[in-house]
């Protein structure tokens, strides 16, 4: 593998690992907060129990999210010193403000976890709200750096020198709002579906205990409802993200859709694989005119194709498949929550059939997969640039060699931690089964 590709693989692996825990670290606090609020409203002890158990799981997940986030942050400087030199001069604000968000999250998480029995219920909710706000703010601010990479503003490069720096203009770059919203909404969706998955699985495994069934049914409906709302919002916002690409990064949209020729009334191709030789998408389903409509709300919108750009500026063409997988998962999850909602509310059925329960079990893993596809699409689709039309990834990479060994070391740590975190979660919830708590509350 060439040097740049090795560096990208190492950093990509770090991010792919970190994003699992970071996404849950943003999504789960919202679920805990909702459960705490439901408890205050209904005085139903089951919700207090949910909040309590989810907090334990969150503390374990953050035990990996925080150090892996530290790795990601430091690795940026170690692997991409050229990139961080520009970021330090122009786009330092989001990193700096993220530190404050990080502090808020760490302080109040420690307070909520280690001092829960010594603070008032109001302070518990306030602490939890700060954890949720801190986590969401960290996600928003870090995503802002990613947004800047796609739509850089607030500086110029003149003879290799960075001039005319306006840090706040860089901070509020054109894609900041839409991209950050996308990340937060999809994290809330993922947290909710993860809860729904686990609840559905537990219901399938405890068919004969009605009390346990009832407990998990409440968690399931909370997860499905919140997941449904946020998958709808994610879809609407995703549409805006695509229009943003049309305006600011047309070659990324062209690669995502497998469009080679610039045209009005452009078709949308769903599925299939982009073929470079024949300049077509093989085995895809073509819907006439739809892409033009999606890109500009009019069928005669001219969508720019890849052939308008020099080939060395093309992103890898497989991003079409990643893009489709991400959108497909989002649509599927939206449908799933609508069906579940109708079944529960309109048909008044409280027990879902087995096949539907098993489908819900896939929702959590699928949404995480959707997050992974989305990030790989977003970062691979920007190649060959690290800062769009300003700096290539090859210009930013470290001059140190021997990244292969580091890649192996870091990857084995991630595999090890993944196994460890599963073992620790299982061991904890085996020793503290739900029956124990339910019987004391009944």
């Amino acid at each position: 593998m060439d040097h740049v590709l090795t560096a990208r693989t190492l950093f990509g692996t770090t991010m792919a690992f970190h994003i699992i825990f970071a996404t849950l670290g943003v999504g789960i606090p919202l679920m805990i907060l909702l459960a705490e609020l439901l408890y205050q409203k209904t005085k139903d002890n089951d919700y207090a129990l949910m909040a309590n158990r989810w907090t334990k799981a969150l503390a374990i997940l953050l035990g990996v999210a925080i150090p892996s986030g530290t790795i990601a942050g430091v690795q940026l400087s170690l692997l991409w010193p050229g990139f961080m030199e520009v970021i330090g001069k122009v786009m330092a604000l989001p990193f700096q403000i993220e530190i404050y968000a990080f502090f808020v999250e760490a302080l109040f998480l420690s307070i909520y976890v280690y001092a829960a029995n010594r603070i008032s219920p109001t302070m518990r909710i306030v602490s939890l709200a700060f954890v949720a706000i801190g986590a969401a703010a960290s996600a928003i601010l870090i995503t802002n750096v990613h947004a800047f990479e796609g739509t850089p503003t607030g500086f110029r490069i003149e003879n290799g020198q960075i001039v005319d720096v306006d840090p706040w203009k860089a901070f509020f770059n054109p894609s900041f709002a839409v991209t950050a919203t996308h990340v937060v909404l999809s994290a809330y969706m993922t947290g909710a579906f993860t809860i729904a998955s686990i609840a559905a699985y537990k219901m399938l495994k405890n068919k004969h205990n009605e009390r346990i069934q009832l407990f998990h049914k409440k968690a399931l409906m909370l997860g499905l409802t919140v997941g449904g709302v946020f998958s709808l919002l994610t879809a609407i916002n995703g549409h805006e993200s695509a229009q943003l690409l049309h305006e600011y990064q047309p070659e990324k949209l062209a690669a995502a859709e497998g469009l080679f020729e610039t045209q009005s009334h452009a078709p949308l191709v769903i599925g299939g694989f982009t073929d470079r030789e024949t300049q077509t998408v093989k085995w895809g389903i073509e819907i006439p005119w739809l892409l033009s409509f999606l890109a500009g709300n009019r069928f005669d919108t001219v969508v720019v194709g890849l052939n308008d750009f020099p080939e060395e500026w093309w992103p890898p063409l497989f991003v079409h498949t990643l893009f489709n997988a991400m959108v497909g998962i989002g649509m599927f999850l939206l449908l799933l929550s609508i069906v579940g909602f109708i079944w529960h509310r309109v048909k008044k059925q409280h027990i879902f059939p087995n096949w539907f329960m098993w489908t819900i079990v896939t929702a959590g893993p699928l949404s995480l997969l959707g997050i992974e596809f989305g990030w790989i699409f977003a970062c691979t689709g920007r190649q060959p640039w690290v800062i769009y039309r300003m700096m290539t990834t090859a210009e930013a990479v470290t001059q140190s060699t021997n990244l292969g060994t580091l890649f192996l070391l870091f990857t084995s740590i991630y595999v090890f931690l993944l196994v460890a975190v599963v073992l620790v979660l299982r061991s904890y919830f085996r020793r503290h089964p739900i029956e124990q708590h339910l019987s004391t509350h009944m």
Binding site: G63, I66, A92, F103, Q399, S400, I413
Partner: protein
Amino acid sequence: MTDELIAISILWGFIFIYAVMATMDFGAGFWSMVYMNRPQTKATKIANRYLSPTWEVTNVFIVAIVVALVSFFPGATFMLGTILLIPGSIILLLLTIRSAFLVFSHVAPKYEKVLVYISGISGLLIPAFLISVLPITHGSFVETVNSVSHLRLDRLFTSPHEYAFIAFAITSTLFLSSLLLADYSNEANETEAYAIYRRDALIIGPFALLSSILIMITMRSEARWLYDGMIAYWPWLAASVALFLAAGLALFLPSWKKKNGRGMPRLAVVAIVLQYFCASYAYGKAHLPYMIYPDITIESGFTHPNTFRALFVTYIVGFAILFPGFIYFWRLFMKDRRYLANDEK
């Protein structure tokens, strides 16, 4: 004060706070390993009670240092990032394992022994690697060929200067943490644990001072520019030694609060933190204007002035907002007797 000086002072402030908090954090992990098999004393419990709520906050400081470095001195980032790839990666891997296992050991008692060993041993290794960044910035281990900089690991790990720093890091970690834990157990009225940590602090203290003298001796031959600079700040070094002696004395004086009690650990902690403050001030002042000798100075690596101004505003606003949070945290975990005296984890 120029913008560059303000920026390097903020960075140095972060490093100093992290150094103090981290040595206590890492040391507490080590002591909880050492006293694990002596359940009759509460020394382990005291160490764990301090450690549990603080590591996440301590960890934020390391990210704060990296961010302050990149945002204030992006010009230094390029070279530092390049030469620190290997040591930086090792530190990251160790930190990750350690933090993950600190959390795991709380929820999975079945693995507790393994986990305590991991956090105990990494608690000594991490400071050793972290402090190596200092001798690396002294310049003689960096080699530039065709404008590409490399860290000569072979030269670094055969240098007595590097080993003096490592010895200093380890002894300081143990010294500071045992002193703090002595104060912490004194606050919690754990007489036995207090006696143990007080004894440990008295044994290790002189070795910490000795290793700092070793640093000066090796510096004389390996980084003469810095040695001369530090000697020019000799009153600060003298004050540092005086504070060390004052701390030792404080541990022997009769206690104010308790009858028959021995030592004033709070006074000793304050004196020792001031001691490290004086010493690191002299080191830092002598190091200026170089960040990495002789290539990068604070002027050459400095960020764009507009960015500096924007950052400076967020520092003031950010810490003004955070300050009450820190106070609340401190009162809950460091002052609340219900927490200090609690037997449960």
